[in-house]
Symmetry: C2
Amino acid sequence: MDQTSSEIAAAEPAERRRLPPEERRRQIVEGAVTFFADVGLEGKTRDLAKRLGITQSLLFNYFANKAEIIEAVYAHVYLDRLSDDWPRRLTDRSVPLRDRLLTFYTEYSQLIFEYEWMRIFMFSGLAGAELNRRYLHHMGTVILHPLLEEIRAAASAPVDPQMEDIWNLHGGIVYIGIRRHIYQVPTPDDPSEAIAHAVDRFLGSFGVV
Amino acid sequence: MDQTSSEIAAAEPAERRRLPPEERRRQIVEGAVTFFADVGLEGKTRDLAKRLGITQSLLFNYFANKAEIIEAVYAHVYLDRLSDDWPRRLTDRSVPLRDRLLTFYTEYSQLIFEYEWMRIFMFSGLAGAELNRRYLHHMGTVILHPLLEEIRAAASAPVDPQMEDIWNLHGGIVYIGIRRHIYQVPTPDDPSEAIAHAVDRFLGSFGVV
DNA sequence: AACCCTATTGATCGAATGATCTATAAATCG
DNA sequence: CGATTTATAGATCATTCGATCAATAGGGTT
């Protein structure tokens, strides 16, 4: 099972030492983010150390154990991903609903269509992490449900949307990132056109101008 | 990192022996499918054996090494998933396009919205398996591209769809399975309604009756 | 009931892994 | 410049892992 062995590269040309602790810690966390995004959360500490150009034992001077390193990776990847003024902006009816949706998904896709985020989110989801359920629940209640109400308010078609429809819109967009970073197949460099079309189809079907 | 340790259960109450080789092999493969779907492809052979109620060494009497077990899992999970008369049925214009799409996605979702399939596909995708790229390429050329032509032929709206639009339809539907089996959040027991709505929105936006 | 074939077990090997501990040397301070 | 601090390296431990192999026993055949 060494399809992800890591003789890939050691970042540093080696032989530098004694960084200030905060800086070293930051360097380890950032290296760990891309390392675990590459090989999965079961990546070996020796491989991580090699990639960082430090010894394996040094890792345990900054983190009590491997689980703590992964905690730090989670924190670094997830922190402040969901800007907390999106709920407000999404419900600001002085702006056309279409514009609100487009700016949201443009910004949101820029955040999550990122190699590290997408893959670590998927790895931790498969590992059964509570984190992912919390994240999706938050997404549903704080973003998508208000969105549902906005669309209902602006709709003129006989059928009115349900949460599952909003999840469908959301999923179709997120799936671009899954294709790109999980399955690693070609996707449009700039997804904004595909996103715009998806949003327009969605709004159009509910009779939103 | 033992969030997926496996004291979960040993299937057999133990102490039975000497099955016909083909049957034992089949039993191992089936057990391995759900085992690796649960814990990932880095699951330990000792845990797999424990779940099967056999010794770890017995595994290596049927498979030369762990990689061979996983090959057998792939084969068992993927084989004949894509019925090869779907391309024909999807392009059979004696049937309304909407009906063709609905039956396709109803059948297809029944196949892939399955715990084992969904999770092993995701695990192998993250591991960088060529398998997934081949599968998605096949999906694109054999199913989705013909579908694109069908929609173009039936469309009456000024804008005509692109492959990326079809992928959007597809992704929105597949995402239901991802939520259910990867993130393990609640989804509709029967996704057919959500699928039908997604299909109708899609076709409607291109002016397909 | 004795025999034989072989499916299965149990013990074990060598490598890899997370973690610990002591020795070393880089930087800072007086 | 010498002493002190401490970030870092190197050696090592206890487990765990995939894999091997000789010993055992299930069960069909005669």
